[in-house]
């Protein structure tokens, strides 16, 4: 087994991934989900997440939302460091500092959000940039790639083994809860009309769940070959955007992470062992 040395790293690919991450962070910040806006938020509720337990036990997230200058510093630091990293993606110390700040951002947001969503993608994708050695980067990339694949395959596995796939009304029940605030606010349109239609037409809703499970299960191909990573990533991205449209669950925080599958060929330098 040989790791190719003195290789030209795919700087352009790094910049694309980091730019996608930057756009996701900006969408969060400009929508009002940033630590400055959370200043004074006194309510949090933790789920089954030992990372959150450990972080909140230290009191750090609570300290951040109770001190406005710390919150301002955190938000500005994240934006500046991320912009710097887009320009200089090989700067590991900037990446490491940014990783630390994004972990802080993650624990603050998720604990006060009271529900985990895709924000973890911010942390996972940045792991690729915190090591200097090309060999370590290679290993980290493959670990992250397999984690991403496992995530989707396990989602498909859970749907099959839990019986959700074979329960004709499962998807329509899931859809029923997704647009409730829109109905309460009388914020109606063609999306809520489609949601109502799918809730009442269980066969069509369940067909969509089966299609989604097939797309998730497709990720298993990635365990055997990297040739189809681009296609797998494309299908998964389509799945996520369909999810956003149909279930109002946006993959913001996950797109940059998913993009490592898109650039699998460029990020992979491993050569077979020469005899």
């Amino acid at each position: 087994m040989v790791f190719k040395k003195n290789i030209n790293e795919p700087i352009a690919v790094y910049r694309i991934i980091l730019t996608v991450l930057l756009i996701e962070i900006l969408v969060n910040f400009f929508s009002g989900l940033n630590t400055i806006s959370l200043y004074g938020n006194t309510f949090f509720s933790l789920e089954q997440d030992p990372l959150l337990w450990a972080a909140y036990y230290t009191g750090m997230p609570q300290f951040i939302v109770q001190h406005v200058w710390v919150a301002i510093f955190l938000d500005i630091a994240i934006l500046l460091l991320l912009c710097w990293l887009v320009v200089k993606p090989l700067n590991v110390w900037v990446a490491r500092l940014l990783l630390l700040f994004l972990i802080l951002f993650y624990v603050v947001v998720v604990g006060h959000h009271t529900h985990r969503n895709f924000q973890t993608g911010y942390i996972f994708v940045l792991l690729l940039f915190v090591v200097t050695s090309i060999n370590n980067k290679q290993i980290l990339f493959e670990c992250l790639r397999y984690f991403l694949l496992i995530f989707y395959v396990m989602a498909a596995y859970l749907k099959i083994t839990s019986g959700a796939l074979f329960n004709a009304t499962h998807m329509s029940h899931a859809l029923a809860a997704q647009f409730a605030p829109y109905f309460t606010a009388q914020h109606l349109g063609w999306r809520t009309a489609l949601n109502s239609y799918l809730v009442q037409h269980t066969f069509i809703a369940q067909s969509l769940l089966i299609a989604a499970t097939i797309v998730e299960a497709l990720a298993i191909v990635g365990f055997f070959t990297k040739k189809y990573d681009f296609l797998i990533a494309l299908f998964l991205l389509i799945f996520h955007f369909a999810n956003w449209f149909l279930m109002d669950i946006a993959p913001i925080g996950h797109i940059a992470f998913l993009s490592i599958l898109f650039f699998s060929k460029q990020l992979c330098w491993i050569k077979k062992a020469s005899n």
């Binding site: 789920e47 959700a164 605030p181």
Partner: protein, 177 residues
């Protein structure tokens, strides 16, 4: 064998390989014990059917009878507002106890020890009293003294068209001081 990632990792760095193997074993154990949410930041991806009868509960905050429409916001803020308001409302309905409070109480069996975790693992009930005001201001409501903040709970019947409000009730009321 040479192509297998774990084999290559073992040849490259034994400690890293052991960590990955430990992770896989731990993950398998958690999955087997149906604790799939514990280790990972992702949820169970809608494998569990959470409601049985198409009746969905949702919450809305009103300031001086004027509703706060969270659905008008961009997705990240809307999602945050919806989850936080739901969680706060359930906390109010559950006598200001959440999952972590009950978990800690169950594990410690001692109210004095439980109290040491207040505002560390679960929120301090007194401190959280200001949350409704914060939420209203987060949605650009300028609050004044004697303004009324209400949290309404709505039960919606979702399998009919149009969607019907089966009942509605005020679960929280606060007069701004």
């Amino acid at each position: 064998m040479h192509k297998l990632f774990l084999y290559r990792l073992l040849k490259f760095n034994k400690i890293a390989a052991l960590l990955v193997a430990a992770f896989l074993i731990l993950y398998a154990v958690f999955f087997y014990k149906k604790m799939d949410m514990l280790l990972f930041p992702y949820n169970n991806m809608f494998t569990q059917q959470l409601n049985q009868n198409y009746v969905v509960t949702t919450y809305m905050m009103k300031v001086n009878q004027k509703p706060i429409f969270i659905s008008n916001d961009w997705y990240p803020k809307k999602d945050f507002s919806e989850a936080a308001l739901t969680s706060f409302s359930k906390w109010i309905r559950n006598n200001k106890q959440d999952y972590m409070y009950q978990f800690v109480q169950q594990k410690t069996n001692d109210s004095a020890t439980t109290a040491t975790y207040k505002n560390k693992l679960f929120v301090d009930a007194q401190a959280a009293e200001t949350w409704p005001q914060w939420f209203a201001e987060y949605h650009h409501f300028k609050l004044q003294k004697n303004d009324t903040i209400l949290i309404w709970q709505y039960n919606l019947r979702m399998d009919v068209s149009p969607v019907a409000i089966m009942d509605a009730a005020i679960i929280y009321k606060k007069i701004v001081q």
